[in-house]
């Protein structure tokens, strides 16, 4: 569409808060967004799963984390939903059994939810304008990946009998490092490069659903 955006500056508060008279509701665009995020996560996640595998969908450098965390920061619950669903597809392509992928859902959901929640709760600017924004993102990435890293090898892989107790730390560090390193590489750049545009589009989600 022609000339839809200009350089009018929005503050971090304004980004997350509804303006007087502003109406936002769930619409077809969010359904489309969910599908596209699953699609892009599928491809990007599969790239990580195939290129840097540790096994059972755990990777040394998992690019899918960028879609999970950036997607949820921009698109709220739709990003969290997509983050929970797409590893299912990307893991399938890389040979992870169906039910193992299914059991990863809580880890993937939390990994996406926490940064999205932190940005909304602390009113951080997704364009990463200040050190505070960077720190909030980094902290959310670390905490959420730590949860994923503890949950998945301990609950899922151990639960399915795929790992011995002694090899669990390798997978915990693999999951954690694979997510945090890839997150540092991609999340900062994606947020910095595209947030300025995304926050002005109708698909951007201020609260959780719209």
């Amino acid at each position: 569409m022609e000339n839809q955006l200009n350089q009018e500056e929005l503050t971090a508060e304004q980004i997350w808060e509804l303006q007087p008279g502003e109406k936002r509701s769930v619409g077809v665009i969010h359904i489309v967004l969910l599908a596209l995020l699953i699609g892009i996560g599928f491809v990007v996640g599969a790239f990580g799963s195939i290129s840097f595998p540790l096994g059972f969908g755990v990777n040394f450098f998992w690019t899918g984390i960028a879609v999970q965390q950036v997607g949820a920061i921009w698109f709220g619950a739709w990003g969290v939903l997509a983050a929970s669903i797409f590893p299912f597809f990307s893991n399938a392509i890389s040979g992870t059994p169906f039910y193992v992928s299914l059991a990863y859902i809580p880890a993937n959901a939390v990994q996406a939810f926490l940064p999205a929640w932190a940005f909304r709760y602390y009113k951080a600017d997704p364009r990463l304008k200040s050190t505070r924004d960077y720190l909030i993102l980094l902290a959310a990435m670390i905490v959420s990946s730590a949860f994923g890293a503890l949950y998945s090898p301990l609950v899922v892989l151990k639960g399915f009998g795929l790992l011995t107790a002694e090899s669990v730390p390798l997978f915990i560090w693999g999951w954690f490092g694979g997510n945090v390193v890839a997150g540092i590489v991609f999340n900062f750049i994606l947020l910095k490069a595209l947030s300025g545009v995304v926050i002005r589009t109708p698909s951007f989600v201020k609260k959780w659903w719209a």
Binding site: G27, I31, G55, T63, S167
Partner: protein
Amino acid sequence: MHKTLLGYVPDQSPIYAIHPFVKVYFLLIVSLFPLFITAPEWNFFIMLFTLALMWYSRVDVKILRIYAPMAISMGFIILLSYTVLGGVHPEYRLLTKPLGIPIYWERIRDATVVYFRILPMIATMVFFLSTSRERDVIVAMRSVKIPFVITYVFAMALRSAGMVLEDFGIVRQAEQARGFDPAGKSLAYKIRKYIMYMVPLFALSLRRTEEFTNALIARGYAFTGKASKVKRADYVLTHYTFRALDGVLVGIITITFIAILVLRYGFGYFGLDDSWFIIWAQSAL
């Protein structure tokens, strides 16, 4: 040839006689079988059976070459996990101790059990992906009355994955046209350059969100309100009939699953104690 999610199946394949729901049901239920079976020979049999089905369906079994390295690397990781990283257990039977690392019989046995559990699960996934089209999954979902919005998100996600791959190709060609050649470069260099792909890929996908939404609305699709409650005709289902054979296959899969559960937990079958493979391996080692 008909394109499937993971390759091509010839026009004359018997798999077309099967209703898509049966294929999804096979994936969901047969994938569960190995979780209740410990004896490796039984899981190996499930894997062979699934591969035989692929052959019978005239799937090009070369497709398995994609998964062979993954299966091998998974086996290696499991073995590593159970041996080198298996810890010290004086209560286990020590087989050997290369470089001071104790290798126990029980650990080898457990690694074998786990690996043979994973193989049939992968096989069922490959069977499904190589014999099903996106349309089959949609038909299966609509057959069991899964809400249209869920079916549609699924279909569109598959479609958008294809688009992202196309976009990726275009962006890569554009980078190469500007002199970017990753061949022989370090991993760090490749990762750094990979970032160059991610930003345009995201930007293109976001732009598509708007285009798709407009297209959907222009075709009268509504997610909320009165228009979202229209009874959909599901025209696609008119091309598929759930025949007696499909009913029989669903019945066989269900009964087999129940039988496995009963035999496992009622009569103690499929355990390690009765496994002739484990008994043979124990005596051999």
